[in-house]
C-alpha cells in the first residue's frame, strides 16, 4: 500500500517535471486521468452545467500554468479537487448574497435538509442535501478521495469529514425512501 502511494507520488512528480520542461503529453495524461473526477465534482457540487464547465476549465488551465512554473504537490488529484472546490465556493459566493460563506456553510450543515421530495433523480437528491455534507459526499463518491484527502482539501479534521459523509448518506437514503413511499402511495 505504502509502496503504491510512494510510486504514485514519484510518478506524479515526474509528470510535473515533464510539464515544467514543456512536455504537453504529460499534461494530457494528467488531464485524461482526472477530468472525470473534477468534472463530476464540479457538476454535482454546483448543480449547474454552465458553471461547472467554467470551473472545470479554470481548474485545469490554472493547474497547467502553475505546473509550468514549477508547481510541486503531494497529490495532483487532491490539488485539482481543492482548486475546484475553491472555485466552486467562489461561484456560490457570487451567486448568493451571503457575505460570509463560512457562516452560511455552518448553517447549511445542519439545518438545510429538505424533505419535500418529489420526483427526483440522484443529482436532485444531492441538491437537497446540506451543502457541506453534499460536498464531502461528492468528494468521496465522485472524486474518490479518502477521508484524509478530503480533510486536506477542505481543511477540516478527518472525524468531521467522516461524520459529514455519514450524515449525507443517511439523509440521501431518507430522501430516496420518502420518494419511494410517495410513489407507492400515488
Amino acid at each position: 500500500m505504502l509502496e503504491n502511494v510512494s510510486q504514485t507520488a514519484m510518478r506524479e512528480a515526474q509528470l510535473l517535471e515533464r510539464i515544467r520542461d514543456g512536455d504537453n503529453t504529460a499534461f494530457t495524461e494528467i488531464y485524461t486521468g482526472h477530468k472525470q473526477s473534477v468534472y463530476l465534482y464540479c457538476l454535482r457540487y454546483l448543480g449547474e452545467n454552465g458553471a461547472a464547465e467554467d470551473v472545470f476549465q479554470d481548474v485545469f488551465l490554472g493547474f497547467l500554468q502553475h505546473a509550468r512554473n514549477g508547481l510541486q504537490v503531494s497529490s495532483i488529484c487532491a490539488y485539482l479537487i481543492r482548486s475546484a472546490r475553491n472555485a466552486c465556493l467562489n461561484r456560490i459566493r457570487d451567486r448568493k448574497a451571503t457575505s460570509d460563506v463560512y457562516e452560511m456553510e455552518e448553517k447549511l450543515a445542519d439545518d438545510h435538509f429538505e424533505d419535500d421530495a418529489t420526483d427526483i433523480d440522484l443529482s436532485e437528491a444531492l441538491d437537497r442535501l446540506p451543502e457541506l455534507n453534499r460536498e464531502a459526499l461528492v468528494l468521496r463518491e465522485y472524486a474518490g478521495l479518502t477521508y484524509e484527502e478530503i480533510a486536506e482539501v477542505s481543511g477540516l479534521p478527518t472525524t468531521t469529514i467522516c461524520k459529514r459523509i455519514y450524515r449525507a448518506r443517511q439523509q440521501l437514503r431518507r430522501i430516496v425512501l420518502q420518494e419511494k413511499r410517495r410513489k407507492q402511495e400515488s
Partner: protein
C-alpha cells in the same frame, strides 16, 4: 458510533480490522441490519451509475487541451471526433487506477468506483458468508486430508508390495539351451513384449570355434521374469524333476502357457528350469480377527483460551476404547468411544455488542473408525486411522497417524499423533474446535 456510521465507515474502508470483523458478525446475525446495509450499497450503486452516465463534454476537452497547446489546429477535428468517445476513454483511464493511486480506496474515481464498489459490496457480503462457512471449510479440508491419506496408503501399497499372484512367490525362469548354444538377439528381443520382464542375459557369443563347453555356459541365457503371474499351473508340462542345493528346480520340456511360450525363440526346443524362490514377504499377523485397543492422549494443544481470566475448569480427559475387525493385514474397521477435551470459543451479538464465551469441557463421544496399516518391515507397522463420530455438541472427525510395534504375538503397542475436529452449533452459527496430541495405546488381538 451507531450502526449507520459503521456502515458508512465500512464502505469507505475506514474501519479497523477488529471493528470490521465485529461489523460483519453483526451483519451476519441481523437481517434488519443487512437490509439497512443493502440500502446503502444501493446508494453507492446509484452513484456509480450516475458517474458512468456522466462524461466530460467533448467541447470541454477541446477547450482545455486547445488552450494548453496540446491540440494544434490540424488535430482539433481529430480530437473532436475522438472526444465523442472521450467518456469511455476517461472512464477507462480512471478505472485503471493509474492516476493518484486511488485503486485501493474503494470508490476512487467514478469508473473505478464502479469496479471497486461492486467489489466492496460483494466482498463485504462474501465476508459475511465466509465468516459462517470458514469453519465448514476447515472440516472439508480435514476430510480431504483423510481421503488423501487413505489414497496415499494404497499408492504406498502398490509401491512397496512385491508382486502378488495366486502364488505368493516370485518365479524365476531359467532357459537352458540344449540343441543350440547360439543365442541370437532375436531370442532376447522376444521377451521385450512383456510388461515387467527383465532380461538378465549373459553375453551373446557365437560359438564357432573351440571351448564349446565354456562358451555354451557363457551363452546360457539367464532370463529372469518378474511379475509374471501363472494363474493356471496345469498348463505347465513337467516331464521330470531334479533338485539343486539352493532351490528346488523342475525341468520341463515345454511350457504351454502363452505368456512364457512367447518368450522363447520358436525354433528352439529346449528345457526350461523353473526355479521357485520363496518370497521375502511380510510375515502374516497372528491369528485373530478382532482387536481391542485402549488409547490415551497427552501433550494436546487446542485453540488458545485464557484460563486465568476465565477461571474455568481445564478438564483434560483424553482416552478412548475401540473394538475393530481386521478384514485383512491392512484394512480394519470398528467402533470407538471415549472422552475428549475441546476448547470452545463462541460468541453472540446482543444489542450490537459482541459477547465472547470460552470453555473447555470434556465430551463423551462415540463413532466408527477405519484403519489402514502398511507393513513395512517386521515388527513395525505405520498405520492411519480415520474416525467419524459425534458427541452432544456435534460431529467429531479425527485422524491418527501412528506406528505399531508388535513385541508379542497378540499384543501391539502404538504411538503417534492424533488430530480431532469438533463442529458445534451455537444459535444457528457453526463453530469448530480442534485438538492435536500425542497418542499412545495398547492393542490386543483375539
Amino acid at each position: 458510533m451507531n450502526f449507520e456510521e459503521r456502515i458508512s465507515a465500512f464502505m469507505d474502508g475506514a474501519l479497523s480490522p477488529g471493528e470490521e470483523t465485529e461489523f460483519l458478525h453483526i451483519l451476519s446475525v441481523s437481517p434488519d441490519k443487512r437490509a439497512l446495509f443493502h440500502s446503502y450499497l444501493d446508494q453507492r450503486a446509484a452513484f456509480i451509475a450516475d458517474a458512468r452516465s456522466t462524461t466530460v463534454p467533448s467541447h470541454l476537452d477541446m477547450a482545455v487541451l486547445g488552450a494548453a497547446g496540446v491540440l494544434g489546429a490540424g488535430t482539433a477535428a481529430a480530437a473532436a471526433s475522438g472526444s465523442a468517445t472521450g467518456g469511455s476513454v476517461a472512464g477507462g483511464s480512471v478505472a485503471g487506477g493509474s492516476v493518484a493511486g486511488k485503486a485501493g480506496t474503494g470508490a476512487a474515481g467514478m469508473a473505478a468506483g464502479a469496479a471497486t464498489s461492486g467489489t466492496t459490496g460483494a466482498g463485504s457480503m462474501s465476508g459475511v458468508t465466509a465468516a459462517s462457512w470458514w469453519t465448514m471449510g476447515r472440516m472439508l479440508s480435514a476430510l480431504l486430508l483423510g481421503v488423501a491419506l487413505f489414497s496415499g496408503g494404497y499408492v504406498l501399497n502398490d509401491l512397496l508390495t512385491p508382486a502378488q499372484g495366486t502364488h505368493a512367490h516370485d518365479i524365476e525362469l531359467v532357459a537352458t539351451p540344449v540343441e543350440e548354444n547360439r543365442i541370437t538377439d532375436a531370442s532376447t528381443e522376444a521377451v521385450s513384449p512383456f510388461n515387467g520382464v527383465e532380461t538378465n542375459s549373459g553375453p551373446v557369443v557365437a560359438n564357432d570355434t573351440g571351448t564349446e563347453e565354456k562358451m555354451q555356459e557363457a551363452a546360457t541365457p539367464h532370463v529372469v521374469y518378474r511379475n509374471v503371474y501363472i494363474t493356471q499351473i496345469d498348463t505347465v508340462y513337467l516331464p521330470g524333476e531334479r533338485t539343486t542345493s539352493a532351490h528346488e528346480t523342475r525341468a520341463i520340456k515345454r511350457i504351454d502357457t502363452v505368456v512364457i511360450a512367447a518368450a522363447l525363440p520358436p525354433r528352439i526346443d529346449r528345457p526350461i528350469n523353473i526355479v521357485e524362490q520363496p518370497r521375502s514377504s511380510v510375515s502374516p499377523r497372528s491369528s485373530g480377527r478382532f482387536e481391542v485397543e485402549l488409547q490415551r492422549e497427552h501433550l494436546s494443544t487446542w485453540p488458545y483460551i485464557d484460563y486465568g481470566r476465565l477461571g474455568v475448569d481445564r478438564t483434560q480427559q483424553q482416552f478412548a476404547v475401540s473394538l475393530g475387525y481386521l478384514f485383512d493385514e491392512r484394512h480394519s474397521a470398528g467402533i470407538i468411544a471415549g472422552e475428549k477435551s475441546f476448547a470452545m470459543e463462541y460468541y453472540r451479538v446482543e444489542n450490537d455488542s459482541l459477547f465472547l464465551f470460552q470453555r473447555q469441557p470434556a465430551l463423551f463421544y462415540g463413532g466408527g473408525f477405519y484403519r489402514y496399516a502398511q507393513p513395512l518391515f517386521s515388527g513395525v507397522t505405520p498405520e492411519v486411522t480415520l474416525t467419524l463420530g459425534g458427541c452432544d455438541f456435534g460431529p467429531v472427525l479425527g485422524a491418527r497417524l501412528a506406528l505399531r510395534f508388535d513385541p508379542l504375538d497378540r499384543i501391539s503397542l502404538l504411538i503417534g499423533a492424533n488430530g480431532t475436529i469438533l463442529a458445534y452449533r451455537y444459535r444457528d452459527k457453526l463453530f469448530t474446535s480442534h485438538s492435536l496430541g500425542l497418542s499412545y495405546g495398547m492393542r490386543y488381538r483375539f
